[in-house]
Amino acid sequence: MANKKSALVFLLFSITATVAASAQTQVFVPGNASGCFGNPDDGCVPLVAAIAVNAPGTITVAYVDGTVNYGEFGVEVGPNGGYYPANGGQYPLQEAKGISPHKPIQNMAALIGAFVPAARVAHKGFVAIDATKAASRVGIMPGSVFFVGESRTIEVKEAGTLFLGVNDNGVVDNSGGFNLEVTVQ
């Protein structure tokens, strides 16, 4: 009987430890992964699925290495992005806020993210692109896009997938990308 109790306690401990264990993965986000956000968008490259969680959790994104060239010869930016005159057009992080000020930005080609609930990701016809352009049956709402930069930790309250991309609209002339480490707890 005592052995059965011990076995049960051990089993419960093992299960708890498994649930609490953190998962870690590395992903590469190419410099043209804009998710078709922004206007005008000249190339439609979906955001990268970085990690999926099946319950509430804490996701941390940490930059490892890599740079993005957004089409300006000799200009390379890290995950915090760089200065760009932006006299016209709308960038993904601006679309996220419903604004288009046509003023210089400091986060050109920065690393951005969007957490999408599992029900949406699992929907038939879901593509990890801007849902406001009739380009997919089911997409991502621009309001859910946020700045990541060098590192960011987010608390999610439900199952879903974290997608990552870059803050640029015209991406056909982009190159490079970011290597990242993503941890969930």
Partner: protein, 183 residues
């Protein structure tokens, strides 16, 4: 002294009644008012400012009369009508992040409440904020169906805008007369 007190109480009573009295207004929402929402769009007609509130309030929207006439023999009231969008996207679909297929609310009366900080921005226009068509616009996720009647409770100052759930407006005509009550 008693007379003064009575007068004061009466004054306070009248002032309270005045403050508590609901404000009522009527607006016309043209059948071409798409707010630039949906895709593809052939034109952009800003939403109609229907009611402005200076703080938390209850806004009731009530249809009075009118219909929207559209292609394919559509002549509908504020609840809208069935339509197969194909691969197009209606404004209410855009608000949910989906597109295409069959809908039951084409040309329905729709609305959006915009907080004062955004609505009063000097470069704000009451159109879709995701299409690079205005410096400051409306995020599509805030749109909602109104239909024949709807009451919303708002927690801050702002403006209620009204429009039509259609994206292609060149073939639309008519519109809805609507009554707004703010309490």
């Amino acid at each position: 002294m008693t007379g003064t007190k009575v007068a004061l109480v009466l004054l306070v009573f009248i002032a309270t009644v005045t403050l508590a009295a609901p404000a009522q207004t009527q607006v016309f929402v043209s059948g071409q008012t798409n707010g630039g929402f949906g895709a593809p769009i052939d034109m952009t007609v800003p939403y109609v400012p229907a009611a402005v509130v200076t703080g938390p309030a209850t806004i009731t929207i009530t249809y009075i009369n009118g219909t929207v006439i559209d292609a394919g023999g559509v002549d509908t009231g504020p609840d809208g009508t069935f339509w197969n969008c194909g691969t197009a996207q209606s404004p209410l679909e855009e608000s949910r992040g989906v597109a295409g297929g069959k809908i039951s609310d084409l040309d329905a009366l729709i609305g959006v409440f915009v907080p004062a900080a955004r609505a009063n921005h000097p470069k704000f226009t009451a159109i879709d904020g995701t299409k690079d068509a205005t410096h400051v616009g409306i995020p599509p996720g805030d749109l909602f169906f109104v239909g024949e009647a709807k009451t919303i409770v708002v927690n801050e100052a702002g403006t209620l805008f009204l429009g039509i759930n259609d994206w292609w407006m060149g073939d639309n005509s008519g519109g809805f007369n609507v009554e707004l009550t703010v309490q």
